[in-house]
């Protein structure tokens, strides 16, 4: 242990603890902005500089470790003057029109300036030129150079966590900017649209394209029937923005809120998650039987970030993706066929909206292959959880006062298996539950495959989770991985023949959709994927039905419309050829 004094308090912390963490242990929260534990410890913003007695300069607390006998002042006059100067310098190059910013209220720069009482700036504004502000406003991910504070977090998250190197510093000296690496346009890069740069941006420099107004216009159009679906992980996070506890922030409260917004039909994407299991599980057994998976596994296809990743990084493995569409797309396809038929609504008069924890879903729904024969897109708008929150606020809905309301019927049933789609390992767990049933005719213990969801807890021997099991006499090896850097490691090991699996689930965001790039962002930099995943885990355990093949309305859909999994109709509506949609 190392003993030191911080602001007059004696502190004892393990060796190699940073000054920042040591202070935190003593209850002292040193202001910081660029620092992101283990990802961005570069001391760029200099707001965490403290005075260490005996040192000539001030010392950044985030990337220097404590030493025995140190005496540290985190907030004396010298430190404060330097901190405020640096904060004002940052503000001089930041578009401070907070009223026009999606991150107003969850912006770390805004909070720090307020906390530290910075009410004016002695430095004149120095914002980027018009040319430096250019951005494709139709792209699902929007970057505002005038708000970027060059903390480098997006660069580091994309480099270290997602391994895609989309962002970089451009130019040098005082003209240094963060922008798309190698001076490319964002649309010309391999960006997976995972949105992790957005959720790790301390300010409003990165956000999703806002589609809320377009959705509201559709709702207000009397000719149009609006149908909305809510993805599993949305229920784990939406309440954070309204100060609701997980118990209060139920999906049925969202359902009621969305009815108040004016949607005609409200459904849960968990329904089509169950449907996905029927298709993907059947496809897996089929491909396994055909010997398709001897060298490489079948990969899940529900995560659009992962699909964009594999297409650009491992095009030779694209054939291993399941042909099943994602639950979002399956839902839309079923709404504009079966649902339309049952309700006698012309499909072109339906506007299908999805609420997703994801930014890549906006691009997925727009893919040319995600349209039906008539050329209608399965899904018309994909909103992130953050957009949901903004929409509810815009409609002045007091969510805390709402009663819960059930989902509409026909596509309203869902099982625990569908719910856990929102966390890493969940798709695999759900698939194994039903694959076991399909192979043996008997339900396994629904908790038999929990282990594959342990990735949510942190890494084991590999940066991914694996499990070996016996499926009616066939030995199976399956894995679940989240985070694209981890997915890359897995693909490399697969390519080198170091590991072999039959079935692999990949989710682009660390922890799965619970940690999705479309989820609410907070000021505290706490990674919430794990606790959000636990919400799903609890919901699954509490549901009476935990097997996708026991979803009654899914069964009815097959009986009265699709026939069986992988039928011609099912192939047409629920599957896709991945090769077609080259980026």
């Amino acid at each position: 242990m190392v003993n030191l004094i911080i602001d007059g308090q004696a502190v004892s912390v393990p060796e190699k603890t940073t000054i920042l963490d040591a202070a935190l242990a003593a209850g002292i929260d040193i202001p910081h902005l660029c620092y992101l534990k283990e990802i961005n410890e570069i001391g760029a913003c200099r707001l965490c500089c403290v005075q260490v007695e005996g040192e000539e300069k001030l010392t950044p607390a985030c990337n220097n470790v404590v030493a025995e006998g140190m005496v540290i002042h985190t907030d004396n006059a010298r430190v404060r003057a330097a901190r405020i100067t640096n904060l004002q310098l940052l503000l001089s190059q930041h578009d401070c029109r907070c009223a026009l910013c999606v991150r107003s209220g969850s912006c770390q720069l805004q909070k720090l300036a307020n906390d530290l009482g910075v009410l004016e700036n002695r430095f004149p504004e120095d914002l980027p030129t018009q040319k430096q502000l250019r951005w494709d406003q139709d792209f699902p991910l929007i970057r505002d150079n005038a708000k970027c504070i060059k903390c480098m977090r997006c660069v580091q998250v994309c480099d270290k966590v997602q391994s895609l190197h989309i962002w970089d510093m451009t130019a040098t000296g005082g003209r240094t900017q963060v922008n798309v690496a190698n001076n490319r346009e964002i649309g010309d890069t391999a960006c997976s649209l995972c949105g992790q740069c957005i959720t790790h941006c301390p300010v409003g420099a990165l956000r999703e394209r806002d589609d809320v107004q377009a959705v509201l216009r559709a709702i207000e159009d009397p000719e149009i029937t609006t149908v909305v679906q809510i993805a599993p992980a949305v229920r784990t996070a939406w309440g954070e923005a309204f100060g609701l506890t997980p118990e209060q922030a139920t999906v049925n409260r969202i359902a009621e809120a969305l009815r108040k917004v004016g949607f005609d039909y409200v459904f849960d994407t968990c329904f089509s998650a169950d449907l996905t299991i029927m298709e993907e599980g059947s496809e897996f057994l089929e491909r396994l039987r055909k010997g398709d998976l001897e060298r490489y596994p079948m990969f899940t296809s529900c995560c659009p970030g992962w699909r964009r990743f594999i297409k650009s990084q491992y095009p030779e493995l694209v054939g291993q993706l399941s042909t099943a569409k994602s639950p979002q797309q399956m839902f839309g396809a079923v709404v504009k066929s079966y649902f339309a038929m049952k309700h006698d609504i012309a499909p072109e008069k339906i506007c299908c909206v999805s609420i997703m924890p994801c930014t890549a879903k906006k691009a997925e729904r727009a893919m040319p292959s995600m349209k039906n024969r008539a050329g209608l897109p399965d899904v018309d708008y994909a909103l992130t959880t953050r957009e949901l929150v903004r929409m509810l606020r815009a409609k002045r809905i007091r969510v805390e006062d709402l009663a819960e309301s059930p989902f509409d019927r026909l596509l309203g049933d869902y099982t625990g298996a569908g719910v856990i789609f929102g966390m890493t390992g969940g798709v695999m767990d759900a698939a194994l539950r039903s694959a076991c049933y399909l192979a043996t005719g008997k339900n396994p213990d629904p908790d038999a495959f929990r282990e594959i969801r342990k990735g949510a807890e942190g890494a084991g021997a590999y940066p991914w989770c694996e499990k070996e099991l016996d499926l009616a006499g066939t030995k199976l090896r399956v894995a679940a991985v989240s985070g694209l850097g981890n997915a890359r490691r897995l693909c490399e090991e697969l390519r080198r023949g170091k590991v072999h699996y039959d079935f692999v689930e990949v989710m682009a965001c660390p922890g799965g959709c619970a940690g999705g790039g479309g989820q609410p962002v907070h000021c505290d930099d706490r990674e919430r994927a794990r606790e959000r995943g636990q919400v799903l885990d609890r919901l699954d355990s509490a549901l009476p039905i935990r097997f996708s093949h026991e979803n009654a309305e899914v069964a009815e859909l097959y009986r009265s419309y699709l026939g069986s999994p992988l039928s011609e109709k099912a192939e047409e509506l629920l599957h896709t050829e991945h090769e077609v949609d080259r980026q």
Partner: protein, 607 residues
């Protein structure tokens, strides 16, 4: 009245020196337009204000560059810039103005694409190249801040292990590396570059015995290395660590190449070289000495017998003067002389007058060796000035200190032989320093003076070396101006399984370049053999200090006082004391921790 500097002038004089040091330590990769703009502003501030083009024009020029950088103009501005700069260059009254305009013109021509990129796209095509300057500039990318921190902590073995991750010649480099790492050392901005080479020497001199590193499981692949110099041994070392069997073919009866047969003992004692070689051999590198590829074995045999072949022959042939009398007796090349020394063929120079021709490090080695062989007088004849010599300044200084004469601005024109065909004198044409060439270096031309006669009994020619490429050329290896043609991966195109690097490909260079080439070759040969081994080392690098040490002079190595130089082949330079090493290590600015080094680029833990 006596003129004295006032306080502000004194401070300015110091600031000028500060900025000079800062500029000299500039890393590459900064936006050239931005840099040009700021050079221009400095020039403008230097204007005395008398003349229009300089007083107003340089400011307008700066404004145009600013517009380019802001992307607020069309391509037409480039013509405006050029016309304005040309007018300033043509009409400015003094160098302050016209040289500033010339710099702007050179930049406009030299990086026009970058100008266009700014105008058309509002951004720059540049990118910072040096994250940790010493490490990035080192051809082998040795972890300099890492081993300095370890040396400071007294962890000498760890320091040496860290160096060996990238360079299996830590001892050799501690003594004779040309230390390009020091050229861009950021400490130069504070006071002076850290004496990196001296710190390395301190670490290797104080490290205890180290067991050979463990090798990866045997792959069953075999690689032949032609030439047991620093490059070949580096490749062999890394390939052996990767689990491949390597056999080094060496023509001489000892390993080391130029390190043994080209560098005199008073600079690099044999036992220091042997220390590195022994460590390399301990890993399991196999060696066939006294085996010349071309006579004892053929390249074809090696290509058949081994999975891959690496050609790393050195530059052991000498370049000829091409003047009359060169064929005379007692006219030798420096490589011949130095090789002879290592082989035990010591020429008897006792009481003789020796001339050495050349201005590089080898010329200095020949000069200083001649002194040690008891020559009555040694004159080093060079056609340019001392400032233009390619030898390291300390080598030149030592040669002078040891009693040789350096005769500059004399170009050899003829060797006068006596009746027995032995050298009697060197005739040289006096030169005058002349205009700058394209590379910015001044050229020389014959002065309007008569040739001079320099009587001598022994003449050593040290004007460059070449490689013996003929055999390889005759056996299907492509060549290019006297060197072997290889790709940047070291692969020799069209050869099937042959790689080449070091002097053989680049022409005569330095030990650290040979090591770097060997490292690149090992990596690519490993790939070629179908593997992706990584080389890594498990060394925990100490945390850096919080505040860097205040400005402080650089510790230079002192030299041993020599009474009678004749016959004294002992090491000349003396290592740092512990106190000196500690102080010098403390000067390291830890660019791995401070600045860009903890973000982009930075430390590599494996390769």
């Amino acid at each position: 009245m006596m003129e004295t500097q006032n306080e502000s002038q004194k401070v300015m004089a110091r600031l000028y020196r500060d900025i000079q040091r800062r500029i000299s330590a500039s890393p590459l990769g900064f936006c050239p337009v931005d840099m040009s703009l700021n050079f221009l502003r400095t020039c403008h501030a230097q204007s005395c204000g008398k003349c229009v083009p300089c007083r107003i024009g340089l400011g307008q020029l700066a404004g145009m560059l600013e517009a380019v950088l802001e992307g607020e103009c069309g391509l037409g501005i480039l013509e405006d810039i050029e016309q304005t700069a040309r007018a300033i260059a043509d009409t400015a009254d003094c160098a302050i103005g016209y040289e500033a305009a010339q710099m702007a013109l050179r930049g406009l021509k030299g990086f026009r694409e970058d100008y266009e990129e700014h105008i058309l796209h509002g951004h720059c095509s540049c990118g910072l190249e040096y994250s940790i300057p010493c490490m990035d500039v080192c051809p082998a990318h040795v972890d300099v801040p890492g081993y300095i921190a370890l040396t400071r902590a007294g962890r000498y073995e760890d320091a040496v292990r860290l160096i060996r991750k990238d360079n299996p010649f830590p001892s050799v480099c501690g003594y004779i590396c040309e230390h390009p790492c020091e050229a861009r050392c950021r400490r130069e901005m504070v006071d002076a570059a850290v004496n990196i080479c001296g710190i390395k020497r301190y670490a290797v001199d104080h490290a205890g015995h180290m067991d050979a590193a463990a090798c990866a499981p045997a792959t069953g692949k075999r690689v032949a290395v032609v030439g047991g110099g620093p490059g070949g041994l580096t490749t062999a070392y890394f390939l052996t660590l990767m689990g491949h069997r390597t056999m080094v073919y060496e023509r001489q009866n000892k390993l080391g190449g130029m390190l043994r047969y080209g560098i005199p003992d008073y600079r690099l004692p044999q036992e220091i070289l042997d220390r590195d070689i022994q460590y390399i051999l301990d890993t399991g590198v196999e060696v066939r000495l006294n085996t010349d590829v071309g006579t004892d074995v053929t390249l074809e045999m090696l290509k058949q017998e081994y999975d891959a072949v690496y050609i790393s022959i050195g530059a052991h042939d000498d370049r000829k003067l091409g003047i009359e009398g060169e064929e005379g007796a007692n006219v030798v090349s420096a490589v011949e002389m130095l090789r002879g020394m290592a082989e035990g063929n010591v020429p008897d120079l006792g009481g003789k007058r020796v001339c050495v021709i050349g201005g590089g490090n080898v010329a200095m080695d020949a000069t200083r060796t001649s002194l040690r062989l008891g020559a009555a007088g040694v004159t080093c004849v060079y056609r340019r000035r001392i400032d233009d010599m390619t030898a390291l300044p300390e080598e030149i200084r030592q040669a002078q200190n040891e009693g040789s004469e350096i005769l500059t601005l004399h170009a050899p024109s003829r060797v006068e032989l006596d009746g027995e065909g032995k050298v009697a004198a060197l005739w040289a044409q006096p030169q005058i320093i002349s205009e700058l060439g394209r590379d910015g270096r001044p050229s020389v031309r014959a002065a309007a003076q008569e040739p001079v006669r320099i009587p001598c009994d022994y003449l050593v020619v040290a004007i460059g070396q070449t490689i013996q490429y003929k055999y390889f050329e005759d056996n299907g290896i492509g060549t290019n101006r006297g060197t072997i043609r290889a790709e940047r991966t070291s692969f020799v195109p069209g050869s099937g399984n042959v790689f080449a690097g070091g002097d053989a490909v680049s022409g005569p260079a330095t030990v650290i370049r040979a090591v770097a080439a060997g490292k690149v070759a090992a990596d690519n040969i490993d790939d070629f053999l179908g593997y992706h081994h990584t080389i890594t080392v498990d060394v925990d690098i100490p945390a850096s200090q919080l505040t860097n040490s205040p400005a402080c002079g650089r510790v230079n190595l002192s030299e041993r006082a020599m009474g009678d130089i004749a016959g004294d082949f002992g090491l000349v330079s003396m290592g740092m004391t512990e106190e000196e090493a500690q102080q010098e290590c403390g000067r390291c600015l830890r660019c791995d921790h401070f600045g860009i080094g903890n973000f982009k680029g930075g430390r590599t833990y494996q390769w």
